[in-house]
Structures are given as C-alpha cells and as structure tokens.
C-alpha cells in the first residue's frame, strides 16, 4: 500500500515536472498584436482593422508597426474609392453581409480598391509623387517598348514576360468585363506599372506593403530585387565597392530611421547606400524621388548618351547640372580632387566603350543587314545578333556601371575583359560572313517566341 502511494506520488511529481517544463517553453501560438481603438478612427475603418487582424494578420501587423498607424492613417485613407468607380473590389463587398463575421455588417460597408496607386499616395505626399512621375522608374514600360527587341519582335512568351520582365518593370493593369482585375496583370508592384487611374508606377516597389518604411527604402536591399544579374548588376557592383564594404561592416551602427530631411552622411551612416547617392538629401542637395536626376550618363543605353539625349525618354535635365548635384553628394565625404579624378576615369571608360566597342560593333551589324547577310525580320535568331546584344546589354553595361560605381572586378573582368573577347569573336564571325558572302544561320527552332508585339495602347496613344 505504502509502495503504491510512493509510486503514485513520484509519478505525479514527474508528470507535474513535464507539464511545467512544457509550459515554460514558448508554445507555437501566434501572438496577436493588440490594437485598442482609442483614437479617432471611423467605425468603418475599425471594421477593416478588426477583420483583417484575424484574416490577414501579416498585413495588420505590418501596418500596426508603420508610421501610418502612428499617424492614425488607416486602411480607408488609401484603399477607399468613390461609389461607381470601376475598380471597386467586388468580392470584398460580399464580406459586409456575412453573419458569421463579427464585423460583417452592412453599416460598415465602404467601396474599396485593391490596388493603391501613386495617385492615391499623392493625396498626402504630392511632391514625392510628382518627382517619381518624372523618373525613368515610373516611365519604364514606355522605355522598355521603345528599346527592347524581346517585346517588339515577340521573342519571348507572355508568361515569360509576366514572371520575368514585368515583375520589375510593371504590368499594364487591366480590368475585365466582370469588373475584376485581369490576373495576367496582377499582382504586381513593378516601378512602371500603369494603373487604372492613369498614374504610373507603384510606391510599394521600394516602400513595401504594409509598412511603407522610409528606413527600408534607404537600404540597398530595397533596390536589389531588380538591380542585379548579368545585365545590370548594380547590387553586386555596390557590394564590391568600398561603399558596400563599409555598409556591411557598419550597418548595425546606421540610423535608418532618421526623420525625412535629416538623414545625414557621417552621422547617420558611414558609407552611402544606393538611396543615399541617388535620392536622399545631403548637405544643401534636397531629396528627390526622381532617380534620373543626378545622372550625367545613361550607362544602360546601347550607346552611352547624356540623359537629356536619351531618345526613349529624354530627361529634360542638363547633364552638367545633374553632375554637379551628384558631386555635391560626394563632397559630404570626399574632396574635390578625389571627385574630379574619379569622374575623369568614368568619362574615359564611357568614351572607350562608345568609340572602341559599341560604335564599330553597331556599324558592323548595320553592314551585315545592308548586305543581306543578316536577316532583319527577327532578333536573337542569328548568333551575331545575340553577340551584339550581349556586348551592350550585358558586359557593356557591367563595364560602364562597374567603372561608375567603383567595382574593379565588374569594370574589368566582368566588363571590359568580356567586351574584348565578345568583340573579337563577333568581328571574326562578321568579317567571315562578309568575305565569303555567306548568310548567317537563322535558328528555325527559336523557342517560345510567341509574345504579343502590340505596344500597350494606354501608353502609346496614337
């Protein structure tokens, strides 16, 4: 009897220990972030918040940590539209007659749109939206259609474009006859997205939903989703540069949360991020959301030109003024001789690329077309076309951007070194065709060249 009691007591103790240990560990339950509606929020907005904190807790938690929540800016301030607007989220209206949902009552019903556009943002941030609207970012669909052979010659498929090109460049948002957003065009947060209200772009490309963080957009990670890879490896270039090295070494000391207009080189950050040079204010230079400003060369173009001479989208600026602006940014940390001598090397790299590599290659391509040795109907289906394309679009850009943003490996090994090899092989093949009069091989089995070649009418109005 006593033994049984002893075993029973020990058993109970062991069980108790197990329970206590289990309780001491964090259970894998999501902690719901609290939001007490203690401030002046309209009841309809309260309904949005109460419902979405359970249905989409990620969206809610993001917003709750945002400056918007701090300033009492709710879902409705951005998503509300007027009754009768064609982009009303129709399925969302149904939630207001759901008895199983505590906030699903008709009295909270508000017309809302899923897509929030720069025009919506301009209600409170008009200057930022105006600057952005002038940039190459906002107008990238137009630029892309004016330059790109993949689109104009239909050399890739619509889905290759949707999952590739348009993710960064943006889609032309369409609404179908049922009033729903065409799934081929959405979801999308591309910088040049054409919205139903006619505005271009998406502020959420860099200030992602639903935090809309200034700090985030100041980090290089905000840019690297698009600015990477063989054709424009800006982030890899940055990582290789001293700027990037210092950023990684000291980023824990960076104060990314400084108020707008107060982010200061040397105080809040040691070396610049992408935004610090291209957008943020510094010294007397004001902040701009126009990433095209402060540029004195278009290093992405086939032939490097001044931004005001970039035919696909003339900047309307004066390159000397813009260079001076960039020099003003540099001068927060660098002396005049350092800045001027750096630009000297960059200008020479551009000139060498233009004169030694691009112009002769382009002249040779034109000669081949003129002599009928290359076929103009399509692009990429003849090897020399691919070689020419990669010369400017891949290594040519790497060389120029590597020189500009001070990454020696990209300027030389991934850049001019590759240009040299490409150029030599390209010329050998081209001269061979010219000497023998032999026509280039045309790939009959070029895959998946099925994409639409119609320029988006909403942008190219005739």
């Amino acid at each position: 009897m006593r033994r049984t009691l002893l075993f029973f007591t020990i058993g109970l103790l062991v069980l108790g220990l197990i329970v206590i240990t289990a309780m001491a560990q964090q259970p894998n339950f999501a902690k719901v972030k609290e939001y007490r509606i203690e401030r002046s929020v309209p009841p309809e907005a309260q309904a949005c918040i109460e419902c979405h904190r359970t249905t989409t807790p990620g969206v809610f938690a993001d917003w709750a940590k945002s400056r918007h929540a701090n300033a009492n800016i709710t879902c409705l301030d951005c998503h509300l539209i007027q009754p009768g607007d064609r982009d009303i989220a129709q399925d969302h209206e149904k939630y207001y007659s759901r008895s199983d949902m505590p906030w699903g009552e008709t009295k909270y019903k508000m017309p809302i749109a899923s897509i929030v556009t720069p025009k919506d943002c301009s209600r409170c941030h008009p200057d930022e939206a105006t600057q952005y609207s002038k940039s190459k970012h906002a107008n990238t669909i137009e630029i892309m259609w004016k330059l790109d052979p993949w689109l104009n010659k239909g050399m890739n498929s619509d889905n290759e474009r949707k999952t590739g090109c348009f993710s960064c460049h943006g889609t032309v948002i369409k609404i179908d006859e049922n009033g729903k957003i065409d799934p081929d065009t959405w979801p999308n947060a591309g910088v040049g997205r054409l919205n139903l209200d006619g505005s271009k772009g998406a502020c959420t490309s860099c200030h992602t939903r639903h935090r809309f963080s200034v700090a985030e957009a100041r980090m290089p990670e905000a840019c690297d989703q698009c600015h990477l890879g063989p054709d424009h490896p800006q982030i890899e270039i940055y990582e290789e540069s001293k700027h990037g090295t210092l950023y990684h070494a000291y980023k824990s000391e960076y104060n990314f949360n400084a108020a707008g207009g107060t982010w200061t080189p040397g105080v809040d950050y040691r070396a610049p991020t992408c935004a610090a040079c291209h957008m943020s204010g510094s010294g007397k230079e004001p902040t701009s959301h126009d990433v095209t400003s402060r540029l004195s060369w278009e290093t992405q173009a086939p032939l490097t030109v001044r931004p005001q001479d970039f035919k696909a989208f003339p900047s309307g600026t004066n390159w000397q003024d813009e260079r001076q602006k960039m020099k003003n940014i540099c001068s927060a940390c660098h002396g005049d001789a350092w800045i001027d001598d750096f630009y000297d090397g960059f200008d020479k790299a551009v000139e060498e690329y233009n004169e030694v590599y691009f112009k002769p290659a382009k002249a040779k391509l034109d000669e081949l077309y003129d002599k009928g040795l290359l076929d103009k109907t399509k692009f990429f289906d003849e090897r020399l076309e691919v070689e020419y394309y990669e010369l400017w679009h891949h290594e040519g850009r790497r060389a120029r951007m590597g020189a500009m943003m001070m990454a020696p490996d990209y300027a030389w090994w991934h850049g001019f070194y590759e240009c040299k090899l490409r150029f030599a092989n390209y010329m050998e093949e081209a001269n061979h065709l010219i000497e023998t009069g032999q026509k280039a091989y045309v790939a009959k089995d070029f895959p998946n060249a099925t994409g639409d070649t119609q320029r988006p009418k909403a942008i190219f109005k005739e």
Partner: protein, 200 residues
Amino acid sequence: MAKGGDSAIKKPFWKKAIKPAILIAIGILIAFPLFSMSYFTMVRTSTPDFCGSCHEIKPAVVAWRSSSHTNNASGVVVDCMDCHLPAPQDTFDFFFAKTYHGIKDVAIHFFTGEYDREKARNNAYAAFDNRECQKCHRNLLNMPYKRGAMLAHRSVLYAKPGYEKKCVDCHYDLVHSERGLVMFRQTRKVPYQAKGLRQL
C-alpha cells in the same frame, strides 16, 4: 499789416464754397444713379441663374446645384463668382476679369458659337487661384481626423520652390460632375477625400 486793404475784397467762406458745393452736388446726382446702376448690374449678372441663362453654361449650373458646394449642413452656398473670379479684395482684377469674360463670352456666343466643355474645364483649372478657395477654406492645417490632408495642405501652404500647387490640382471633378443624385454633404456615406494629383 501792410496788406490791411485785402480785407475789403475778402469774401465770406460760404460764398467761396458755394460753387464747388454745387458742382459736387451735381456730381453726386449724376454719379449715384450711375454707380447704383453698375452695382445693380454687377449683382444681377453675378447670380448662377444669370450664368445659366446661356445654354453653354446651363449644364455646369445644373451640376453645381446638385453638388456639396450647394448642399451642406452649414447652409453655405458657393456661387459661380466665388470660385471663378478673382477674390473681391483684388477689386480691380475682379471687375476687369468679370467685364472681360462677359464681353468675350457674348462675342464667342454670337460669332463662333463653339463651346468645348472639356477645354473650358481645363482653362478654368488653369485660371484658378488658391486665394479664391481660401476665402472660405481657411483653416487647412488643423484637421485631427485627416492627418494626411494636414500633410498635403502643408506642402501647398509652405510649398518648396518649384513645387507650388493649386488647390484644384488635387480637388477636382468636385462641383461640375454629372451625378444621378443631389449630393448632401451631411448624408454622404463615403467620406470625401481628394483624388490625388490630377496631372499624374
């Protein structure tokens, strides 16, 4: 002392003043009716009814009558002139603009007869001055329920050089929009918010 003789030819004051007084009286007699008539004309030609008597303007007046600038809980009615002419403190501009537009509109009506509403709308947007709106909308920075509007209004009232904005850049399609129902501001279910920059 030496000129004591002057007192002999010195007339009494009333005799000296009688001629100017008569002239002034005649002036008033002529000017008062003239002034009243022009004032009466100004008032008569400043009503929405008068503006709507031209078929070109009629639709604008009909739309205005159903807008929140006519129907609101404060009972304030904003007439055509309140928005479409320079603020009365710019008195000369007010009379000049009114007379100029009056003559121009009549001339165009009789000689060309063309009226492009869309073009006229854009001309009106271009002609607006913030002071016209700010006659009534003066307290634009203290809106605790509309923090976003406070931010936006700040960028208008204290604009950065090169970023000057007009009220109508964001607040447009507000009055002269085709709508099926009369809009009563106090019963509006969906709160009003600016639509964002028109030119974006």
